[in-house]
């Protein structure tokens, strides 16, 4: 590729690889357009968290021993010295207190798991509220939903591994949930948990799932997610007006590596949009350059031309942005890991078969499921002729979460668009969809509060009984109210998509926080 006056050695190295892999023919990938939207970077945060998880996980994997056989602990934690503890627990203590950098990397792994799921959830909310799931992007929404489910599975199996008192309790609850599935429950529970929990096969099996099966599946789906994204291109926010054609250096910059990276604002690339219009599919076939060429011919990109995407070229501009995101993610995780202990197994102690810790609850992202379990009364159990007993654990722990995930997956087909849409929308302009989103977010929030009903009861100076009674009604009532208010506030915006009613009321801008503000202004509801 590049002329080799300077950096001849680099050019020769490139030439060597290029001669064998024909890199030049795919150079237009470097011109892929990334719309310059900050909220579009949430997915990248999730991606980098996964990378950190894999790397820190590899480190932990060198030391972890997936076994629950008792060993005499001889490490440096005084409290357990000379005690018989499960091998898994002992090895995690070893990682935490005796392996150099072990504590930092273990905490980083744990924090990265939290951030992975959090950024993924926010990314999904962003996609939902801006309507980026619409035709033709339904497949990627499905892949993303699968990723969310898998990452929860990864978190759950990882949580179990140290076999501390919290881990074993959480695993025990999961085992009983699996067992509560009608008909297949017994087999399913034994399959996942390695016989009747607690058995000596549980931790090895979870280890295998956690370090190989689930990460492979996640990596595969991330690959599919990215490929579909490349193929379909990003969505793009509504343009303010016609966009001038790409600056000539943009292409050269991609080739000559870095000289033009600084002029971020000007380095606009355009990119053929996904399938749909004939022009679009043309552009796809030829990659980003085709889009640029088209645009160059036209001189400008028309405001409503959805056959091209306007954004920063992947290289060097977006690469620089991504690098910043990566280092910020890494810095955040390092700070959290350095200063905030998480899942302190030495404090929890090893699994005690005859006890359950007083203040037990799952990580925040499973709190809503836990809330269902706490709220659903046993009289929900019913008998189905062939299936047998369907009990409240199954309804709360398996059926309801499945329905929630199912509803999420089905949404693009409920809110279906016959024609491809390539512009992201302002949530304020979509009263119905935004109201549904607000319903979903508040529903999960109320369920999560139900998961912490004992804390809520403590805070209110009462018991879990009355709190549950309130939460029961709030579980459907509160989301309905919030959705109704959202819809009422936004209804007027439906026709005039260009101007949000007024700057002051911006509910659902970022889901949870904003929606909880809504009810405070009662005049909003009409």
């Amino acid at each position: 590729m590049a002329t080799s006056d300077d950096g001849g050695r680099l050019a020769r190295a490139y030439g060597w690889v290029d001669a064998r892999l024909d890199l030049d023919s795919d150079r237009e990938i470097l011109g892929k357009a990334f719309p310059a939207e900050d909220s579009f970077l949430l997915g990248e945060v999730a991606l980098f968290c996964f990378l950190v998880l894999v790397l820190t996980g590899m480190f932990l994997g060198f030391f972890f021993e997936p076994s629950t056989s008792d060993v005499t602990y001889e490490g440096s934690v005084e409290r357990f010295q000379g005690e018989e503890v499960p091998e898994a627990f002992a090895s995690v203590l070893n990682i935490t207190y005796d392996v150099p950098f072990g504590m930092l990397l273990r905490r980083m792994h744990h924090w990265a798991a939290h951030l992975f799921i959090a950024s993924m959830a926010l990314h999904m909310l962003r996609v939902f509220f801006t309507g980026a799931y619409r035709n033709p992007r339904e497949p990627n929404w499905l892949v993303g939903t699968g990723l969310a489910g898998l990452s929860m599975g990864a978190a759950y199996t990882g949580y179990a591994l140290p076999f501390d008192e919290f881990a074993s309790t959480a695993t025990g609850i999961g085992y009983n949930l699996a067992k509560s599935v009608p008909l297949a429950g017994e087999a399913l529970a034994k399959l996942v948990f390695g016989g009747s929990f607690p058995s000596s096969a549980t931790i090895p099996r979870f280890y295998f799932l956690h370090v190989l099966v689930i990460p492979l599946a996640i990596a595969g789906l991330i690959g599919v997610h990215m490929l579909i994204l490349m193929r379909q291109k990003h969505t793009e926010a509504e343009r303010e007006g016609d966009v001038p054609g790409p600056a000539p250096p943009a292409e050269g910059a991609a080739a000559s590596g870095g000289t033009a990276a600084a002029d971020g604002g000007d380095g606009v690339a355009t990119d053929g949009a996904g399938s749909g219009t004939p022009a679009g599919s043309d552009a796809v076939a030829d990659g980003g350059v085709a889009g640029s060429v088209r645009a160059k011919v036209a001189g400008t990109v028309a405001r409503d031309d959805d056959s091209v995407i306007v954004g920063l070229p992947a290289f060097p501009n977006q690469a620089a942005v991504s690098a910043v995101v990566f280092f910020l993610t890494l810095a955040t995780l390092s700070l959290l890991a350095g200063f905030l202990p998480v899942h302190n197994v030495a404090e929890y102690g090893p699994n005690d078969p005859a006890g359950t810790p007083e203040l037990i609850m799952p990580d925040w992202f499973l709190m809503w499921v836990y809330g269902f379990l706490k709220l659903l009364p046993s009289w929900l159990a019913f008998h189905v002729p062939i299936l047998g007993e369907v009990n409240a654990e199954f309804v709360g722990g398996i059926l309801m979460p499945t329905l929630v995930f199912g509803a999420v997956a089905a949404w693009p087909f409920v809110d279906y668009y016959r024609d491809p849409e390539h512009f992201a929308l302002n949530p304020l302009d979509r009263p119905k969809q935004t109201a549904v989103g607000v319903f979903g977010v508040t529903f999960i929030m109320v369920a999560s509060i139900a998961g912490m009903n004992n804390i809520a009861a403590d805070a209110l100076g009462t018991e879990t009984g009355p709190v549950n009674a309130v939460l029961w009604w709030a579980l459907l009532g509160w989301p309905t109210l919030c959705a109704a208010i959202t819809y009422g506030l936004l209804r007027g915006n439906d026709e005039g998509p260009d101007e949000p009613a007024d700057g002051s009321d911006t509910p659902s801008d970022d889901g949870p926080d904003a929606t909880s503000d809504d009810p405070d202004d009662p005049e909003g509801e009409r």
């Binding site: 609850i173 009983n176 067992k179 034994k190 399959l191 058995s199 037990i360 379990l373 709220l375």
Partner: protein, 210 residues
């Protein structure tokens, strides 16, 4: 026989457009192809499905479920250290966790031993299973299998999902999601002053089971 061959040629080859009609042989030929497709599909699915059969083996690894009795007549109750529980172990209003005296094949059967004045019991308590104000219940919550290791006043509370049980009324459910009471263990005093079971729990232990 030779007819078949002809039709086959006709379909696969370039002869077909010249045929005046899609009836007669051509139709029969298509049916035969469909039949072959079906066989191939069924055969293929069977072959692939047979690969899933070994999955059933996964449920068998390290099987060590135990479904026999936990207690039986004469099994003594022991505390966490393995010492037998004597009549004076608890004063009224107290509770402790006890286990069946170890026997081969049984790992854990945590049991809650409570003591109240005799006349405090009522409701669903089986009075014939109590002795000297002692009553014993399974410690395994009937909801999701956690240990009922917390209390609120006199109420037994499972910390997982806040199922609540009344120990003076046969550990019946007084709050939260559990579907049924903690099973009671019939107790008596042995001649040397130890608490012993006179049989197994009067109901299934833990979740499931009706």
């Amino acid at each position: 026989m030779s007819d078949d061959c002809d039709t086959c040629d006709g379909c696969c080859g370039d002869e077909e457009p010249t045929r005046p009609s899609i009836y007669t042989d051509a139709r029969a030929e298509m049916e035969r192809r469909d039949y072959a497709k079906m066989l191939a599909t069924v055969g293929g699915l069977t072959a692939v499905g047979s690969l899933a059969a070994p999955l059933m083996g996964l449920t068998r690894v390290f099987e060590r479920g135990y479904s026999g009795p936990v207690y039986s007549d004469g099994v003594a109750l022991v505390d966490g250290e393995g010492n037998r529980v004597t009549e004076g172990a608890l004063s009224e209003g107290e509770q402790m966790t006890v286990f069946p005296e170890p026997r081969p094949g049984i790992a854990d059967a945590p049991t809650l031993l409570v003591r109240y004045p005799e006349d405090a019991y009522g409701g669903e308590t089986r009075m014939e299973s109590t002795v000297g104000g002692y009553a014993a219940y399974s410690k395994v919550c009937t909801h999701a299998g956690c240990m009922v290791s917390d209390t609120e006043g006199e109420t037994l509370v499972c910390p997982c999902h806040f199922g609540k049980f009344d120990p003076t009324s046969g550990a019946s459910v007084v709050g939260g999601p559990p579907p049924r009471a903690l099973p009671q263990l019939p107790l008596t005093l042995s001649s040397d002053g130890h608490l012993v079971a006179t049989g197994d729990f009067e109901g299934p232990v833990g979740p499931g089971g009706e």
